[in-house]
Symmetry: C2
Subunit: 335 residues, 2 copies
DNA sequence: TTGTAAGCGTTATCAA
DNA sequence: TTGATAACGCTTACAA
């Protein structure tokens, strides 16, 4: 029992294959009656277009390749937002996961195998030169979502991490904090911009910077917990801790809470992302919100802007985070 | 600047296209020297196989279609586990997301368009007749992961929700609880089995069942919060609440905590899944753990067992949850 | 409005 | 070990 083809429909109806193709793609060149009959036959035979054959013959692809890490909830949210955004322009999406055993490069190579018109790489761990190397092989426009700076190889859609962290730090300073530490995830490309936002805001207020690095780890609770333990080893705690993302913040929060340090009574803690963790009322984290829907839409817009236009240079699209005030921050302890 | 094809490599090296194909697929029939030269040319030209052309010509597909909901973290974890499992058998994975604007049926149709050898549908909202209808159109083996019962249309890989909830209820009864409520998500197919596990365990202990339904909602914190409010409206609270999953449990937990009800001092709460929420030390939920890696592996095994063997009947593969004891449960309040 | 012919990049079959 | 030829299902250009 073979899958039915256009030829089967044509034979069934008594017209040529090409006419079936015209009808099924809604192209001009077939009578209303023919359309009706062909469509009916397609339905009764259970016809389904063969993507392989289609992509082979079509001059311009109508597919967008998207790579993402399923383990990262934020990236899944961005993916979800991209579906309607792409569909609005008549594009469909080919997904490829980057996992513990699959690098960004492998994921990109896979979608390239489907001859996508453009590629969106979400939250990669790749450095700029590595990304540029990937792009050179791609021959189609590439958009990096999450991190990166202006360059002439690929578009970047990012939230302005510096602005977001700046908002958070300004909020803490306004509350009266003077000793504000920052938890820095060295291995994450997007962390650098956030760190700069911290340094700028702290320096602008004439305060002393205090960066706690978590080398070799990344945006995880474990990294935050490590930073929390490092802070507890000190003679005196800062009055506020700015984490690079929500998960780190949760890790810091848990370590400090378990050690009997009151949050926010003794130490205020902030995150970045406004992930599901931050929204839990038992955590209720003050944070800088990134809107995944906005990022997804921006990514689709960015890649389609350059599809089929090799002369258009890549650009940077900034999405501004917004400050979300919750109960993990308060004025500094009186001591 | 066209993408290079096998013909380009053949011309570059001075051999036939077919030989290039043989070399690139590691098939017998080419000399060592030819292989070396062809591979080298492929690398320098930046050759990448054309999936469309390949899938059109190949008699047997080497692709597995997988549909999942990115919004559901557990499903993403299962997807992640499937990559290495599939790769071990030489299969690669074609992903398709079910989102708020994209049904399971659409997602399945899409992967079918890529002529996959088999399909894995993770955590669908489809009923059994709906799934059977999908399978009838598919013509390749289909595996449903998460819910479903024995049937002759598709395989089912599920965690034994009844066993898992049974473990949880038995634990509560052993702690001394006598009034144990259950939060039931009517709209989720997998919830029914869990409910039966509750009813069985409660009935077996000679206790009275107390099912709180959350009609029209599903496995969300909001559903749990609604159930929590319903409980608070009562004259007397149960001493333990068994939620259908972790997210519901978190919702119940938050509503009760905010109302000043101590957990676990006054009410014990349990979940199902052992998701990231359950593992947060501020939530620290007693729950029944489903191992996503095990589910993913089982799904791949199940679908490959029937690929190319139309006579093998579908089956049910049970993955047993395990009880994870944390601090959201304790003996009942003395009153 | 409809049909004809060609070809996309690959694999499969068979002959050299 | 290698090469010629056909075919997969579809789209495109053009002729009827």
């Amino acid at each position: 029992m073979r899958e039915p083809t256009m030829a089967d429909i044509a034979a069934h109806v008594g017209v040529s294959r090409q006419l079936v193709s015209i009808v099924l793609r809604d192209m001009p060149g077939a009578s209303t009656e023919t359309r009706r009959v062909v469509r009916e036959a397609a339905a009764t035979l259970g016809y389904r277009p063969h993507m392989g054959a289609r992509s082979m013959r079509q001059t311009k692809s109508r597919h967008l390749g998207v790579t993402f890490a399923p383990a990262h909830a934020t990236e899944s949210d961005i993916v979800e937002a991209m579906y309607p955004a792409a569909a609005a322009h008549g594009y469909s999406i080919v997904l490829s996961a980057q996992t513990q055993t699959r690098t960004t490069v492998q994921a990109v190579e896979e979608v390239l195998g489907y001859r996508c018109a453009g590629i969106v790489v979400i939250g990669t761990e790749l450095s700029d030169p590595e990304m540029s190397a990937v792009v050179a092989r791609a021959k189609v426009p590439v958009v990096a979502v999450g991190s990166g700076g202006r360059n002439d190889a690929y578009d970047v859609v990012r939230s302005t991490g510096d602005v977001g962290i700046g908002l958070v730090v300004a909020h803490l300073i306004e509350l009266g904090h003077r000793r504000v530490a920052y938890v820095h995830a060295e291995s994450m490309p997007s962390a650098e911009l956030r760190r700069q936002g911290y340094l700028g805001a702290i320096g602008g207020a004439g305060l002393e910077a205090d960066v706690v690095s978590t080398p070799g780890r990344d945006y995880t609770e474990e990294a935050g917990a490590g930073a929390g333990r490092a802070l507890l080893d000190r003679a005196v705690l800062p009055t506020a801790v700015v984490a690079g993302n929500d998960q780190q913040a949760v890790g810091v929060l848990q370590v400090l809470s378990r050690a009997g340090v009151g949050v926010p009574s003794e130490v205020s803690i902030t995150g970045f992302d406004d992930s599901r963790f931050a929204q839990l009322s038992s955590i209720d984290l003050t944070t800088a919100r990134q809107d995944p829907a906005q990022m997804g839409q921006a990514a689709v817009d960015a890649v389609l802007r350059r599809v089929g236009r090799p002369t258009v240079p890549p650009s940077v699209f900034d999405v501004e985070p917004t400050l979300v005030l919750r109960t993990s921050t308060a004025g500094p302890r009186q001591s």
